[in-house]
């Protein structure tokens, strides 16, 4: 009985060297031997042609990218090493992107603060406290306009404005840490006091001290949720030149657990006001000249009144700016709790951690935006590629099915 025709797997086995069993397999093996025995050697002409082609080849093929990135004597970057190197590279790239982004966001915050430039720095008392004003008033931009206000050429007809102008003229711009520019000083300080009873006493004492120094209390918030814990938030104003005395006085209230200060440059704001006031004064002079030439013109009289009001308002605004420069703001937190209750921003590690998270979030935001934009494009590209490859495979199959 002859064995049935060999199966595809059996044909594979025969080709891989298995001994044929049965007539069918022996026939198959014989046919395979016959095919393998066909003498199909390339002709000498073909050899010569290929030799000629090969003679144009470089002595050594181009190295693969793995070889190019591997140092002699060191293992090639494959598998886990490649993943680690790629991860490290990604971290470096993200960090390189994140650091400038973080700087940009800080810059944006600065710009967002309207016309003021804020410099925040931990401040020692000497640094934060201006030198006493001994009459050596710096010639800041704000001061340069004072002669204009006092000029007799165009005296104010409006009494209020005149009074305001006089007040402004008397204002001296307090010297800040930068002696050449008017600055608003803002100090935040936290003081730990003993017990809830001490809290009330310390609050009163702080307000009294400030009043004695020529300042005043802007706001006060007292909170005692239980007999163990209480806080008192005070916002105080003191003349800039007496800030140091005020802060020294607060050390007597308890233990100072945090303190930081910021300076807001008011020079730009004062410059703007000066330019606006000059314009209004010029306009006023022009209108009055016209009125002298055309006495009784009601429209001109109305415009003069309006301009005088505007001028008075601008002078008042400028006075307020100068007042901000003259008076330092102290945000005093009196607490019965320890340093934990202090300003969280004081903790540098937490702040650094928060900033890192912010930067990472910014990078992720960019990455998500890019993904939203690129993923559909990539998907379309991939679909097109798959379609093209499928068509080419079908065409190749059709060509190969021909005899």
């Amino acid at each position: 009985m002859s064995r049935p025709e060999p199966t595809p797997d059996r044909v594979d086995e025969l080709l891989d060297g298995a001994s044929p069993a049965g007539e069918q397999e022996r026939e198959m093996a014989s046919l395979v031997n016959e095919i393998q025995g066909l003498q199909d050697e390339p002709s000498p002409e073909l050899r010569a042609r290929v030799d000629q082609i090969a003679s144009g080849a470089p002595a050594q093929g181009r190295r693969t990218w793995r070889e190019r990135f591997s140092l002699p004597g060191f293992p090639a970057l494959t598998g886990p090493r490649l993943a680690i190197a790629g991860g490290a590279l990604a971290v470096v790239v993200i960090a390189a992107i994140a650091v400038p982004l973080g700087s940009d966001s800080d810059g944006a915050a600065d710009l967002a603060s309207a016309d003021a430039t804020e410099q925040e720095a931990p401040l020692g008392l000497e640094e934060a406290t201006p030198a006493p004003n001994e009459g050596a008033v710096p010639r800041a931009s704000g001061d340069e306009e004072l002669p204009l206000l006092e000029g007799a050429e165009e005296p104010f007809s409006n009494g209020a404005a005149k009074a305001a102008g006089g007040a402004v003229a008397e204002d001296a711009i307090p010297p800040g840490p930068d002696q050449g520019r008017p600055q608003e000083v803002r100090v935040r300080t936290a003081v730990q006091v003993d017990g809830v009873d001490g809290l009330s006493r310390a609050s009163s004492q702080a307000m009294t001290q400030v009043r004695e120094l020529g300042g005043f209390t802007v706001s006060s918030r007292f909170s005692v949720p239980n007999s163990e814990f209480g806080t008192s938030d005070l916002v105080l104003k003191v003349p800039s030149e007496r800030l140091e005395e005020a802060l020294e006085g607060f050390t007597e209230l308890g233990s100072v657990i945090s303190q930081d200060a910021s300076l807001v440059d008011l020079g730009e704001e004062l410059n703007q006001r000066r330019v606006q006031i000059t314009r209004q004064r010029e306009r006023l002079a022009s209108l009055r000249k016209e009125l002298r030439e055309n006495p009784g013109d009601e429209e001109l009289t109305r415009q003069i009144t309006l301009t005088e009001r505007r001028l008075a308002a601008l002078i008042e605004q400028r006075k307020q700016v100068l007042q901000r420069a003259r008076m330092a703001t102290i945000e005093l937190l009196l607490t019965t709790d320890g340093p934990v209750a202090a300003d969280e921003g004081e903790n540098r590690f937490i702040a650094a951690f928060d900033r890192s998270w912010d930067r990472l979030a910014t990078v992720l935001e960019w990455a998500i935006s890019a993904a939203v934009f690129l993923v559909p494009l990539a998907l379309l590209g991939w679909l097109g590629l798959a379609l093209t490859r499928n068509l080419r495979r079908r065409e190749a199959q059709r060509l190969m099915d021909a005899v």
């Binding site: 080709l15 198959m28 290929v50 003679s55 070889e67 060509l399």
Partner: protein, 181 residues
């Protein structure tokens, strides 16, 4: 081992792993040619396609990565692409000729060269190109099923089935011819 000798060993290993194109051409010219002659069943055409294969291989030599496969399989894959390009251009040429022939009086074409004068060659020439390709790869070049599947773009089981079908067809063809003789 000193650092210098370690570097020398590493460099020599790298050199050994990457053969030269001349070596590859010399070692695998025969197998490339045998693959193509079985695929196209025409000696002159196979020679032309073989030289075209080596020209393209030289151009793409920088892409060859010995870690991804043997030089033989790489060359056969190029030869296959060269042959497919030829079939495509041949198909277009025939299309044009048929369009022209429809308007002109038909002239009898000479029979296609079967690739040799033996009975076996004629029988092989009667197979489809894909069947001849499988015979060339599995029987003549003795590649294993996995390598063959890599070349033709299929699975090893599809290769086995196709080869089984081709050999069966060949056996029947040879049997018929024996009976006719």
């Amino acid at each position: 081992m000193s650092t210098a000798s370690a570097i020398a060993v590493a460099v020599s290993e790298t050199t050994a792993a990457q053969p030269t194109f001349t070596q590859v051409a010399e070692d695998h010219l025969g197998s490339t040619y045998r693959y193509l002659i079985h695929l196209v069943a025409n000696r002159d055409l196979a020679e032309d396609l073989t030289s075209a294969t080596f020209e393209r291989a030289l151009k793409d030599w920088h892409r060859f990565d010995p870690q991804k496969g043997t030089p033989e399989v790489w060359l056969i894959q190029i030869a296959r692409r060269v042959a497919l390009d030829h079939f495509r251009s041949e198909g277009r040429r025939r299309g044009r000729e048929e369009t022209y022939a429809a308007r002109e009086p038909r002239v009898a074409e000479p029979p296609a060269e079967p690739g040799g004068d033996t009975q076996l060659r004629r029988a092989i020439a009667g197979l489809t190109r894909s069947e001849r390709e499988l015979l060339a790869l599995r029987v003549v070049l003795e590649l294993d099923s996995k390598e063959t599947a890599e070349v033709v773009g299929g699975t090893p089981s599809a290769v086995s089935s196709g080869l089984h079908r081709a050999l069966g067809k060949l056996r029947r063809e040879m049997g018929n011819r024996d009976e006719q003789a």
